[in-house]
């Protein structure tokens, strides 16, 4: 470790003296991307007991920040020699800042991490392999193999999942009642579409049954998984061709547009930043099951409960759903205090007290040790029960998202809105998505 830092400082001097920026880049990537930087620490350094300061970064709003502040205070009480400085931002700003730090050297010691960025940071050697600390600083009794497997990229454990979520469908019982339509009772995607149309019609167009689900790449993924394929394979190749994507987008045609059975894109634009479901304009929404609290917040006091049911079925008996880490905790490869950093990760992932503070704010806790500290009520209990109820549809998690997955997910969403506006044909949308995929997969 010492060598690495000496070298970095030396490079820094070189970079500063060289007027051209070319040396700068050589520096930043040269030291950070060196995988041996973390490997050299071997079996993991033990905590020294000396006074240590850790930087910790997370994204979230003021509510989550309060929770972390309380948790970190507990941690510092338990380990008086460790001081934790935490910093937080909203999600997009958080990642912009991390990107800059990654390029410029200087990621925080411990970070809340997102699944879609895990591969990118791991493969570039920016995250510490936590495997040596598992079972030591990081207790694993509460973490199943499946959970631990989520944070493995290549052969390194670069992230520990704090919590998981599953794809599901939220419904608004109050809207359904006033429309006089029963809760969606399961069935195929076509059944769902007719149910949506029924709600829209029954409410006289005041409320919509749902949103065109083909705008979300996750729905496409659920369908592909049911057919035994991945959205993207481990090697980054897509598990679908143009025809399959075109078929998927075509299938949403009767939900789109002014006369569609779903809410129009125009309406959604007007109420942004609030969502259609959060504005009580749609009665159902396919999304991750940890979004419930946000919806209840948007809906306000006049709506007290939500329905949470399984997404439509593509192929009977298929394992089309999976548990996704709603977030992970990772340690920077360049941390000077890996053992203490691992202890912080352990505390934030496993501690029952932390569980009591957070509830399901970060998703359903992945660690059973943490769950022991929690009392499940209301929406929390509903989410836990939901994940139990779809247990036989839960399959293995797909490969860790490829580098650039975020770009493709966003492109997919944007093309979905354009289809909604009718500014692009399905054929054009498919070709645009594939050309974007070319760029992402080849860079």
């Amino acid at each position: 470790m010492v060598n690495v830092h000496k070298r970095r400082r030396f490079m820094a001097v070189v970079a500063l003296t060289a007027a051209s920026g070319i040396a700068l880049s050589a520096c930043s990537s040269g030291s950070d991307a060196d995988p041996s930087a973390s490997g050299s620490s071997g079996g993991g350094e033990a905590a020294s007991g000396e006074d240590v300061t850790l930087d910790f970064a997370f994204w979230g709003n003021d509510v989550r920040a309060d929770m972390y502040t309380q948790s970190i205070d507990l941690f510092m009480e338990e380990y008086p020699n460790i001081t934790v400085n935490s910093t937080f931002l909203d999600y997009p700003a958080f990642w912009e800042k991390r990107q800059t730090e990654a390029a410029g050297g200087g990621l925080p010691d411990v970070m809340q991490f997102d699944y879609s960025y895990l591969r990118q940071y791991s493969e570039n050697g920016l995250l510490l392999d936590l495997a040596p600390y598992l079972g030591n600083e990081i207790a694993t009794d509460g973490l199943s193999e499946q959970i631990l497997g989520i944070g493995v990229v290549g052969d390194q454990t670069t992230g520990i999942a704090t919590s998981t979520n599953a794809w599901g469908m939220y419904t608004n019982p109050q809207l359904l009642e006033s429309a006089g339509v029963e809760e969606f009772g399961g069935g195929s995607w076509d059944d769902y579409k007719s149910w949506v149309a029924e709600v829209t019609e029954a409410s006289g167009g005041e409320v919509f049954g749902g949103t065109d689900y083909t705008g979300r790449i996750q729905n496409f993924e659920v369908q592909l998984r049911a057919e035994g394929k991945n959205l993207f394979n481990e090697d980054g190749t897509p598990g679908f061709d143009e025809a399959r994507l075109a078929e998927f987008w075509e299938s949403g045609a009767d939900m789109r547009g002014e006369d569609g059975s779903g809410i129009s894109q125009q309406k959604l634009e007007e109420i942004y930043p609030v969502s259609g479901f959060g504005s009580a304009l749609t009665a159902s929404e396919l999304t991750w099951d940890n979004f419930g609290a946000g919806y209840l917040g948007e809906l306000g006091e006049s709506y007290t409960e939500l329905g949470l049911v399984a997404p439509p079925v593509t192929v009977e008996g298929a394992k089309d759903l999976y548990l996704k880490p709603s977030m992970l905790h990772s340690v920077s490869a360049s941390t000077e205090h890996p053992a203490e950093a691992a202890m912080l990760v352990d505390f934030l992932v496993n501690s029952p007290e932390v569980g009591a503070i957070f509830g399901t704010n970060r998703g359903l806790p992945a660690s059973t040790t943490m769950q022991e500290g929690m009392t499940f009520e209301g929406l929390d209990a509903q989410i836990r029960d939901y994940e139990e109820s779809v247990a036989d549809r839960l399959g293995d998690a797909p490969p860790v998202p490829l580098v650039g997955y975020g770009t493709l997910e966003e492109k997919f969403r944007v093309l979905g809105t354009e289809l909604g506006f009718g500014t692009v044909t399905v054929e054009d949308a498919v070709s645009q998505f594939f050309s974007e995929m070319d760029v992402v997969l080849n860079s």
Binding site: A12, A15, L16, G21, L24, C27, S28, D55, A57, W59, G60, N61, D62, V63, R64, A65, D66, Y68, T69, N85, S86, T87, F88, L89, D90, Y91, P92, A93, E96, K97, T100, E101, A103, G104, G105, G106, P108, E270, I271, P273, V274, S275, G278, S279, A280, N290, A293, G294, G297, E298, L299, G300, E301, S302, N361
Partner: protein, 303 residues
């Protein structure tokens, strides 16, 4: 644009009033009335969105997206109560204080350094001034997003991350070409007789700059100070890059912390906090805008 024609009527009416008081007095009153009504209507249009924003601060969070009208269905002051609580243990006044410190220091730095550079560009003839002027304009043209990372690397090497130096140092070094150029343009508008007279009397550039040029371009200085203060007050990207401790965050970052697309967003608190953030700069503008008018000193001197 009705005003364009009216603007110039003022002076003759004053003069001719003596000769034919009544009709001209009426005409003047009519023009003033038209002027006033035109301005009032324009003001109402321009200010309405801000009024809407003010009313929206009394809407509970759930009304956003459900009630797009002006009047809250269920008015509440909860948003303000929440904002007053601060964020994650950092009191709200702290964000205001941070913003004020940064904005004041940045304004002083910008006005001083830009005025100096502008004087050199506008009034001193020396080798290289042409190339430097071109380079200065050139810095305006590059979208700043692509220089973020190299600049971050530099400040990181200088160990200035999580301090206000990366935010303030550039201001004291006149890196904002906008202000340099603005002052150059104003200095060029100043008749040369004024500073030449001083030079001829034996004043050096320092004295000419300090006691002749600066007073003459007062409107430009005030304008620059106002802009610099407001833009720094509202700047988001630079603090995002360089400040990590929440207790050092300025307001624009704090304002975003009520929203998280990945969990819950409190639009009521966001709107209330945005409105509160508007108040100090509105007061700042109210206080300093009067000096925009005071810069008429040149008139009497221009011959």
């Amino acid at each position: 644009m009705t005003g364009r024609g009216d603007v110039w009527v003022k002076h003759d009416s004053d003069q001719e009033r003596v000769v034919q008081p009544r009709p001209y007095w009426n005409r003047k009153r009519v023009t003033t009335l038209i002027w006033f009504v035109a301005l009032a209507i324009l003001t109402a249009i321009v200010i309405y969105p801000l009024i809407w924003l003010l009313f929206a601060t009394f809407k509970p969070s759930s009304e956003f997206g459900q009630n797009q009208g002006l009047i809250p269905d269920q008015p509440t002051i909860d948003n303000y109560i929440k904002v007053m609580d601060g964020i994650a243990g950092v009191p709200m006044w702290r964000f205001f204080a941070n913003s004020a410190i940064i904005a004041i220091a940045a304004t002083v730095g910008t006005v001083l350094s830009s005025a100096m550079a502008a004087y050199a560009f506008a009034r001193i003839r020396f080798k290289g001034v042409g190339i430097f002027f071109t380079a200065m304009i050139g810095t305006l043209l590059l979208p700043f997003h692509v220089v973020i990372i190299p600049q971050y690397i530099m400040f990181n090497k200088l160990d200035m991350i999580d301090t206000y130096w990366p935010l303030l140092l550039p201001k004291f070094l006149a890196t904002e070409a906008f202000f340099v150029f603005l002052m150059v343009q104003f200095m060029r508008g100043i008749p040369r007789e004024m500073d030449e007279a001083a030079r001829v009397d034996g004043a050096g550039h320092v004295r000419t700059f300090g006691s002749i040029m600066l007073p003459l371009i007062q409107p430009a200085l005030v304008t620059s100070a106002i802009f610099s203060f407001i833009w720094t007050w509202n700047d988001f990207l630079a603090p995002l890059m360089y400040i990590t401790s929440p207790e050092k965050y300025p307001l624009p970052i704090a304002l975003r912390l009520y929203n998280d697309q990945t969990s819950t967003s409190d639009y009521g608190a966001t709107v209330a906090a945005s409105f509160l953030a508007l108040v100090p700069i509105l007061l700042f503008f109210l206080v300093f805008q009067r000096f925009l008018v005071a810069g008429v000193a040149t008139q009497g001197l221009k011959g």
